[in-house]
Every structure is written in C-alpha cells, then in structure tokens.
Symmetry: none
Subunit: 364 residues, 2 copies
DNA sequence: TACGATAACTTGTACGTACAATCGAAGAGG
DNA sequence: CCTCTTCGATTGTACGTACAAGTTATCGTA
C-alpha cells in the first residue's frame, strides 16, 4: 500500500512515530522486540535496527541490551522550549526601572524562565541594537518599554518580525501608536489630573508644570494637568508649562525653574513635575533661589520612587506599581506563551501620596 | 594493539576523530570511501558504515550519495557562537547593583553579547535556581556576585560544571574561598581602615562600627576598621562593634544604634557603617534620638551610592567603582572568551569623599 | 564541437548469518 | 528461605551478499 519509493526503514519510522503521537505507545512502555517487529512488518531484523537506531539518536526510543526497547518522549521536546524572555527598558540603573526589572526577574525565575536584559538609554539606535541582539537567538517572548514613544518608531520591522515568528510581546509604561500591542501602564492622564487637582484644592492657582515631551507618558500627564485646570475654571498659563526632551533634561527645566522663581511675587506657588527625579532637581532650584519647600513653593512628583522619601523634604507624589508591574508583565507574557492567551491592556490608577512638599494656601 | 573489548566500530570512530583533531582530515576534505576504509582497517563495509553513520549524526562527517564522504568541523564549534553572558547578583533593584549591571550591559551590548540577568536576594537556594537556569542552555560566560560569601558555598557543583564545560566565569565584589577564580573587588580592608583613620584624625576616639558578617565584604571592612584602631594605639571596644546578617539588617543595627545613643555622655561620637544604606538608616536613628548629624554624631558610609547625596545631610563615604566595575568585568570576560586570556584579580582602591556627615572634634 | 550513452565509482537500502553481552526469571541446591 | 546457576529473550557487534541510486569522467557519435 505504501509507495515503493519510500524506503522501508523510513516507513517503519513513520509508523512508530505515529504510534507515539496517537498514544498507542506511551512513554516508558516497551516496544515489541526487533524480531517481533521484523516478522510483523515482513522485514529483516537489520532493517528494524536501522530504524530503531535513528529513533534512538533522535531521542524517541531507548534501547537497553538484554532488556528491550522502550518509548520515551524525547527530552528535547521539553528542553527545546526556549524559556528565555527578553526585557528592553530605557534605563537599567536609574529611578524606578530597577524595580520593574526586579519584579519581572523574580516572576520569571520562579517560572523557570531566563531573563535577557537590555537597555536603550532612550536612544533609538540602541533600541535597534537591542532588538537585533534579542532576536538573533530563539526567544519565547519580549517585554518592551518604548523608547521616545511620542516620536515615531523606526524599528517597526523588528516588531513585525516578532509577530511573524509568533513571539508574543507586550509593552510597559507606554505603547507605540503604530503597533497593535497589549500594554501595561499607569493612567498618566489621571495622574496629571490628580496632581493639579490636589494643588488647586489646596488653594494654589499659580501652578507651573514641567513635562517631558518625547515620551507619551509626559504628554499624557500634561494632558491631565491641563484638564484639571479646565475643570476648575482656571486657565493654565502657557508660560507656566515647560516641556523638554531627554537630551535637555539635566539642565533646561532647572534653568526655566530658576527663571520663574526669580519673578518675585508673580512666581508660581507650585510645581507639578514629570517625575520624582525632576522634582528633586527642581527642589534644589528652589533652595538655590533662597526659597523653601513647601513654605514658598510646593512640589509634586511622580512615580513614588526612592528619591521621594530619601530627600530632605519628603516628596508628595503619585504612585507607580513598579515591581508589581514588572511581575504582572512577566506572568501575563508567560500566560501568552504557554496558554496562548490573548493580551489585554492593563491600566493602573495612580494614587496621591501626601508627604511634606505641598503647603496649603490660605486665600486672602 | 587495541583492547579487543572495545568494539571495532568505536575504535574506527576514535581513529577518525583523531584524524580530524590532528588536521590529517581538513574540513571539506574527502574521506576515503567505505570500501577503502574497510580494506585498510580489515573490517567489513557494514562496520565502517556504522561508524560513518554515527559520525554523520554527530555532525563530523557529511555523506553524499554517489559522491563520497566529507569531513566537516561540526557547526557547533563555530556556528553556534553563543554570545550570551550571564550575570548573577545578590540584588537587582537596590543600591549600587543597578549601576554594576548597567556598566556590564552597556559593554556587552556594544560587543554584540546578550545579557542574561538573575538575582539571588542573597539567598543560597535562589542562587542555585539561578545557576541552574543559566547553565540549562548554552552560555559563553558568567559573572557572579557571591551570595553570603563569608559562609560556605553549597553550589560548588555548578561551578565545577562550568569549568568542565570550559565556560569562563569571574566574580565581583567578593569570591568564594573554595574556588580558584578571578575576582574584581574593592579593597574593603583598606576602605575600613581609611574610614576609621579619617575619624581618628578628626579627633574621634569613641567610634562605633556596624558591619555585615555574612558577606566577606563586611568582614574585611571590619578588619580594616580594627587595624586602624590598632595603628592609632586606640582600642576599639567590642561593645562598639555590631555585626549582623542579611536577615537582621532591617532592624537589629537600628536598635543597637538607638541603644548606644541613649548612653548619654558615654555614647559614641561616630558611626562607621557597612554601607550607605545602613548609614542612612542610622542617621534616622540619630534623628530619632533627638540628636544631629554631624554635630552630635558623625557618620561614614560606604560605596558612594545615590543615597549618599540624596539624603538631607550629604554623607561622607568611600567610593565604589560600580558602573566601571561592571563594564570592566564584562570586557575582561569577553577577553577570556575570545582570546582565552587568563583571568587576573583586580582590586580597586576606595577613596574617601568628604561631605557633610563628619564633624571635627576639638580635644579638651 | 556538442551531446548523449556508458562505465566506474560512490553511498543507500535490504536482506542474511553468527555470535557476544546483558538482563530477568525460572529452577537447582544449600 | 536464600543463593547460585541456568536458560531464554533481547539487544550489540561483526561479517557477508545483492542490488538501487546518485555522481563523475570518459568515450563514441552526430
């Protein structure tokens, strides 16, 4: 019945493999002896041996002299599972990123996955390098924090390659607009809203905002900041809104703050800062201007990083899930890999933590 | 000449492998035909075929019907360039460790290596998990920060496995005593010495020391601390030396400090702390006791972490190479992998950074 | 010269025999 | 009851034959 062109030993091999697949041969179960098979299939023992030899080399069978031949699910099938997950973040050593990585690492290790880590320093070329390295060898999944998410995404090809290869990935903190992809993030707009709203409730009306504009996180926080003003019927002066890029972050906002603080009575009474890192920097600007936080100027940060409680004046700030987000991202990605689950967005609500950097203003 | 117990086809296999190793058979070169080999070695063609079959499965030979058999260096040797390096640290998210990881990551990425990251939380079982995961798939090299280096090393077997597989590794911060292995570290003893010496020069005589005892780093810093006292002819009171373990770190030293500070006039005038993290904690103890740094109590930290300059009172501390150490570790490991260079120890000299947490004491 | 047939050589498939080495169970002996 | 031996079953090693299938070079013919 079989095509005579197919060698007998290959036919036998296929037959045995189908036995294994159908469960007719359970792992550990003994296979009929070489002589039995030979008789049954009408071939010589040598031919059967050839088949068995290949199947043994490939890990399907185990032959034990004097005992017999036994089926075993090839270890490779399990071992071949790559079980390596990559994480690409903008930064590794600074700020809240170590905590995100840590959460993911702990989860991955407990699930038997290995973690490949790479950073981009918020630089598109390095993001490309990282993607290249990550995809150069088998990978189970990828977690990415977008680099300069507000700008375009020149590395789209790599993400399409991931989709083609069926490698699931998800984003944290932000997503690239061009990509259909699940994302775990903080509701940045709500955060910006809450920060401004809180200050307004405390009686502040002259509020300056400092936001990063090359990350969508900054753009969204600014959006919330403006929305809160609108809701309160107070207009936010454009002069009081400073936006900056990654490259400018170490100097430009600081200078702008100094300038505002030098305006005497017309100076703002509060700063809403893109994140704690900037907040700490601006607190130094306040001190350098001979003023005090919160007596003269109130400051609100973002992300509740260690900086917030380490600094001299404990910083009022908004929470960021950090470790939990890393852990959740990892466990969701594993679910996508192992159960093939569909990815869904997840949005964390930031909450305000009141500390010592905001003062109440008594009107009149 | 060969032991008759060794099957002929195995003997032939070994012979051919030695040809490949010695260069008698260059890759790509044609191997004598089955019949020639059979005649030459006085065996049947079937036996030669058995040998060739195995060597082909293992990737040493390539057989082409009608053409002949050809040697090929198994792709594994060159093609499978793994280019993945693992790093196992005690912590990922805290303290100076993110900076070490970052230095290593940047170097590895620029050299085209991928970084596998894992942490142990200073816990031996997790170290085992990490080693298991790391070695479960091909690896080019490994950088390890020992977990509880002052205690024994129950995971010795994994390190021996690395040596067997020819995977180079090196240690940072400390080394396990049981292992012959290159190590990049700070001269902790010199650091402890410098810290104590500096305080003694400032007129302090009642100096308390707080050191971790399950890491060799802490043991060595304590050693230097004591040596400086001896050199100055001042005895360090055992009551003033507190040692603690990882598990105790969040509470025990704090309580001990409170107790010392409650001794009134007899209280110590300075604290030498295992690291900045502890120093910040003890500064809080000082504040909680109604005292001030540096007026009432001077504090010296270690490692010049971000905590040192973020805190209210800027901390006088000793330097740690951090990022540079990570970068150097990576580049040395790559040299070991690619040039087969021998690993050498590298010791960094810590330097004292004077900030605001130490006061001069006027004698009399 | 260009082309195809052929021969010589290679490895691939398939069958066969014989005996060795090993394992496990059955049986013999204490 | 325990131990040793024996024996049958199984895989391992080694040799052999025969023919199929693919590659290459040579030779003969148009």
């Amino acid at each position: 019945m079989n095509n005579r062109r197919i060698p007998k030993y290959i036919q036998l091999k296929n037959e045995l493999l189908s036995w294994l697949e159908s469960g007719k041969l359970q792992r550990g179960q003994q296979v009929p002896s070489e002589n039995e098979i030979a008789e049954q299939f009408g071939m010589s023992r040598q031919t059967v041996r050839q088949t068995f030899g290949e199947l043994e080399k490939e890990g399907w069978l185990e032959r034990i002299q004097g005992k017999g031949t036994f089926a075993r699910s090839p270890e490779r099938r399990e071992g071949e599972q790559v079980k390596t997950i990559g994480i690409i973040t903008t930064y590794i050593s600074d700020y809240i990123f170590p905590h995100i990585v840590r959460g993911a690492e702990a989860e991955l290790r407990s699930q038997g996955y290995r973690l490949l880590l790479s950073s981009t320093d918020n630089n598109k070329e390095k993001e490309m390098e990282s993607l290249q390295l990550m995809t150069s060898q088998p990978l189970s999944g990828l977690i990415i924090e977008p680099t300069k998410s507000a700008e375009g995404n020149p590395n789209l090809a790599y993400f399409l390659e991931l989709q083609e290869k069926g490698i699931p990935y998800l984003m944290i903190n932000e997503k690239y607009r061009e990509l259909e992809c699940a994302c775990l993030k903080v509701d940045d707009e709500a955060g910006g809203y809450k920060a401004a709203q809180y200050l307004l409730e405390q009686g502040h009306t002259q509020i300056a905002g400092f936001f990063k504009r090359d990350d969508l996180q900054g753009v969204n926080r600014l959006k919330g900041f403006l929305a809160a003003h609108k809701a309160a019927g107070i207009s936010a002066s454009p002069k009081r809104v400073v936006t900056y890029t990654t490259e400018q972050k170490s100097d430009f906002p600081y200078q702008q703050a100094l300038q505002m603080l030098a305006e005497g009575e017309k100076r703002p009474t509060a700063f809403v800062c893109y994140n704690d890192e900037l907040a700490v920097m601006l607190m130094e600007a306040v001190a350098a201007s001979g003023l005090q936080v919160p007596e003269d100027v109130s400051v609100i940060g973002f992300d509740d990083s260690s900086l917030a409680s380490a600094s001299g004046t404990k910083l009022t700030t908004l929470t960021h899930p950090k470790t939990v987000m890393g852990q959740t991202a990892a466990s969701r990605l594993i679910a996508m890999i192992e159960q093939g689950e569909q990815a869904e967005d997840m949005v964390y609500e930031p909450e305000l933590i009141e500390r010592d950097s905001v003062a109440k203003i008594n009107k009149g």
